[in-house]
Amino acid sequence: MKLPVKMTINGQSYSHEVEPRLLLVHYIRETVGLTGTHVGCDTSQCGACTILMDGQAVKACNFFTVQCNGAKITTIEGLAKNGELHPIQQGFWEKHGLQCGFCTPGMILAAHQMLERYPRPTEEQIRHQLEGNLCRCTGYHNIVKAIQWAAEQMAGKK
């Protein structure tokens, strides 16, 4: 049995018939073909699949696709606008906030919501807000710096 589902991803609308058990992350990766959203675990610990759904950072492995009918989703591929990097993306580049790059899309989108909640976060807030995202390469030091850098840039633009 397949069920119809419609959603907007990075401004483009998609409609497919999917198995009810298909996880959103697999829909995004396999059906839609946006492979920037990664799968790093089976237990919703790692956060590599973090996306924005209706403005909220969520783990795409925690949803069945059919639960997301009508959702507006932003994946890492949709964050840069008109070829211009989002300040958080720029921050990760400037501050060497990534090494292998696998956790990076999830980190960037988790940081996106973090900076909406806390536009000028303290180091402690940043570390606490990254609770749901694992990185094995950076030891988080430069991820914290990248987010601080982005916060400064974004505050300056306001």
Partner: protein, 785 residues
């Protein structure tokens, strides 16, 4: 046509060229690939630690809609055992078939593969495969493997002993310890870890029946090693008909060096079903099947004279190798471990005895640091235990024992000859950053208030830039450990570089470009780095053991020299001068001392490919290949310190400061080196405080990220890092290696800090990591009684 001197890039924190694709979601990892007609593989694995396979019934599964094929070990005829690439004398090498058909020997051991049109069909059908098991007793504990009543895992290895091995002078150590003013004896457990790169392993094997070519995309640190082992040793197919590609690799830390069952089986199966076969590990499978790390149980004795000088060290280690010998498993607890037991100290007598044992656990192999963290942990724990026994300051005892500064060679008691070192200098820098005296006085105050504040040091050495082929060959390696580097200059002056090194996060596209840009005096934009593809890169050994800068970089440097030498001949012809009068500077070939009499690099390149006006007898083209085999290992070193506070009521350890002074020789890109140091420290802290694989009754209890605690952002501090620079004389770049130092150094620094914090309770040692709140609380409670 004089040009301004071009700014050198080596030594600068150039932003990474690879980042734009990663931060925009355009990385290209194995699981991102799409090949038309691909089938999906799911493995049926043993749920038992040890069980005889009586029957595998695939009938129901074969009827499942979408199933293409199901194979068991019996179907894989003509296939050999997965090889062990490091053979110690008298090593017992049991067969390790890609699919077990007689018995399963660890939870996760694959016994069948189901291949279907979709992932979900394969998953569903795999659940319908019925295996009849005869469950046997399992042994998982390192120190129980050799017990008389333990189950026998392999016929070829009585007592589950894979090898016994020793190094050093036992008699000398006996005499030294007999004459010691004080001998400290400790049992030290270095627990089992799981590498956990964020990208799980994956492969996609695609056979072309028309050409007979097999392409394997696989998460690999060393595609040529994968190809050689798989094609030549296991599947018996010609190496030249196999192309192995490792695209972007999402972290590895050693775990993607080895040839595993899954890619071997998919490569075999695609030839059988003549369709592409893809497999991506789940995280649960990663916990069960990625090679684990560490897992030593050691009894150590360190003797001191009355002044606190170390006079002897005796080490007896049992190393758990898991159920089978993974690719380089025997090397890790021997040549990568016991040869490092001299550390940074003058130790006149050392002897180490190592027993490698089989258990019903996931195979163990190199994990970041591989043997060296175990050695550093032992030494650093023992020297601080010695300080406690002798009531000496932990900084003072180190100073007393450091090997004095040397520039070119120090012969250790355990085979290695260190390249260059200045251990006291790194330590002094660390103490200054720390304001050590001030800390000790603050600690006094804190202790009077009942607070448990502690500091731990770690002054470590490691051996990297792996490795001189002759040396490792004489020690049992079945491979050389050189590296390849090819430089192709295009007619218009662009340069493509092919390196046998393969980045899995280290930023080679940036650092190697910096190196090439400096040597050729051309902008980085004109340089492309190609790696991870046996179809285009000359045979190379890959990235591990902190070898890419030192070994891979030197291979590139050699090719760049050859390019310049040939370019000089072409330029000399164009300038009507003698080649010996031509020098290369600032991106042009010029007559020595006459920068106006010059031809730019691009013009020489064009001439090489359009050789109308060309030297007699010189080959056209401008492309050079080199293989560099190092003459020795390189030996980075450094000094780390950790300051912790232990919460008395909960046992929670909080890291207040973490400081690191590393000496990795010359540095190509400080930003990248710092990043690797940070990540290494986090992994070392992870071992000390939260990570550990636990088996119970044959089962891996810590089989997911829910149960195995990886370090998170909120348990780690900002790291305070600095460097001293002692270039190595071993390679022309003077670089030693920077990928593993943090992991090697951090674990003992943290544990020493916790022990120091608990010292007022009479604690001088903690046998077992990780130091979770529960464990530390237990220690505090029993100390009270």
């Amino acid at each position: 046509m004089a040009t301004a001197t071009i700014e050198r890039l080596v030594g600068k924190s150039i932003k990474r060229r690879e980042d734009p694709r990663f931060i925009t979601g355009r990385g290209n990892y194995v699981d991102d690939l799409k090949v038309p007609g691909t089938t999906h593989a799911v493995f049926v694995r043993s749920p038992h630690g040890h069980a005889r396979i009586k029957k595998i019934d695939t009938a129901a599964a074969l009827k499942h809609p979408g199933v293409v094929a199901i194979f068991t070990g019996k179907d894989m005829t003509g296939v050999n055992s997965l090889p062990c690439g490091w053979l110690l004398p008298d090593l017992k090498v049991p067969p390790h078939m890609p699919l077990a058909s007689d018995a399963a020997r660890y939870v996760g051991d694959p016994v069948a593969v189901v291949i279907a049109e979709t992932q979900s069909a394969a998953q569903d059908a795999a659940e319908k495969v019925r295996v009849t098991w005869d469950v046997l007793p399992a042994v998982t504990a390192t120190d129980k493997a050799g017990a008389k009543d333990s189950p026998q895992i392999h016929e070829v290895a009585p007592g589950n002993t894979a090898f016994t091995w020793q190094i050093g002078d036992a008699g000398k150590v006996d005499a030294a310890l007999r004459g010691a003013a004080r001998v400290v004896r400790k049992r030290i457990v270095n627990q089992r870890l799981v590498a956990n790169p964020m990208e799980p392993r994956a492969c996609l094997a695609s056979y072309d029946p028309a050409t007979g070519d097999l392409t394997l995309w696989v998460t690999s640190q060393n595609p040529h090693v994968h190809r050689l082992l798989m094609a030549a040793f296991v599947l018996g197919i010609p190496e030249h008909k196999v192309r192995v590609i490792a695209p972007d690799v999402g972290g590895a830390f050693g775990s993607k060096i080895f040839l595993y069952n899954e890619e071997t089986i998919c490569s075999w199966a695609t030839r059988r079903i003549k369709r592409p076969v893809r497999w991506t590990s789940t995280r649960s499978e990663a916990f069960l099947t990625d090679a684990h790390g560490r897992d030593h149980v050691t009894e150590a004795e360190m003797g001191f004279d009355a002044q606190g000088k170390i006079i002897g060290l005796r080490v007896k280690t049992i190393a758990n190798l898991g159920a089978y010998l993974s690719t380089f498993a025997p090397a890790v607890p021997t040549y990568l471990y016991a040869t490092l037991l001299n550390g940074v100290y003058t130790i006149p007598a050392i002897h180490a005895h190592v027993t490698g044992v089989f258990t019903n656990t996931t195979p163990v192999d190199a994990y970041r640091g591989a043997g060296r963290p175990e050695a550093a942990y032992l030494l650093e724990r023992m020297i601080e235990a010695g300080a406690a026994a002798l009531k000496m300051d932990t900084a003072e005892i180190r100073r007393k024992n450091f090997i004095p500064k040397f520039d070119n060679g120090f012969q250790t008691q355990v085979a290695l000859n260190y390249d260059s070192g200045n251990y006291a200098a790194a330590f002094d820098r660390l103490l200054a950053m720390l304001d050590y005296r001030k800390f000790r006085s603050e600690q006094e105050t804190a202790r009077r208030q009942g607070r448990l504040l502690g500091i731990g040091f770690s002054t470590y050495i490691e051996a990297c830039s792996i490795a001189p082929s002759k040396v490792v060959g004489s020690l049992g390696a079945q491979a050389g450990l050189y590296e390849s580097g090819k430089v192709r200059v295009h007619p218009t002056g662009g340069v493509t570089v092919f390196t046998g090194s393969h980045s899995h996060g280290q930023g080679h596209e940036t650092t190697f470009s910096q190196l090439v840009a400096d040597e050729l005096g051309i902008p980085m934009e004109q340089i492309e780095i190609v790696h991870g593809d046996t179809g285009s890169v000359p045979f190379g050994m890959g990235t591990y053991g902190s070898r890419s800068g030192s070994v891979g970089g030197t291979a590139l440097l050699m090719s760049l020299q050859k390019i310049k030498e040939k370019g000089k001949k072409i330029a000399a012809h164009l300038l009507e001068a003698s080649p010996s009068d031509i020098e290369y500077a600032n991106g042009q070939f010029q007559v020595r001392g006459f920068p106006d009499k010059a031809v730019p690099f691009a013009q020489v390149a064009l001439t090489a490919y359009v050789p109308h006006n060309y030297p007699e007898g010189l080959e056209p083209g401008l492309e050079e290949t080199s293989f560099y085999d190092p003459s020795n290992f390189c030996f980075p070193f450094g000094a780390h310190a950790c300051v912790v506070e232990v919460e008395r009521d909960t046992g929670q350890v909080k890291i207040l400061r973490y400081l690191a002074v590393d000496d990795v020789g010359n540095v190509l890109n400080p930003m990248i080196v710092d990043g690797m140091v940070h990540g290494g420290i986090a992994q070392g802290i992870g071992q000390a405080l939260c990570e550990g694989a636990v088996y119970s009754e044959g089962q891996l209890v810590t089989g997911s990220m829910l149960d195995y605690a990886l370090p998170k952002a909120d348990m780690l501090p900002m790291y305070e890092t600095d460097r001293t620079v002692t270039p190595t004389p071993v390679n022309p770049l003077g670089v030693k290696g920077a990928g593993e130092t943090g992991t090697i150094a951090a674990t003992p620094a943290v544990v020493n800090a916790v022990v120091d914090a608990l010292a007022p309770l009479g604690i001088d040692h903690i046998e077992t990591m990780p130091l979770t709140a529960a464990r530390v609380w237990g220690i505090i409670q029993s100390a009270k009684r």
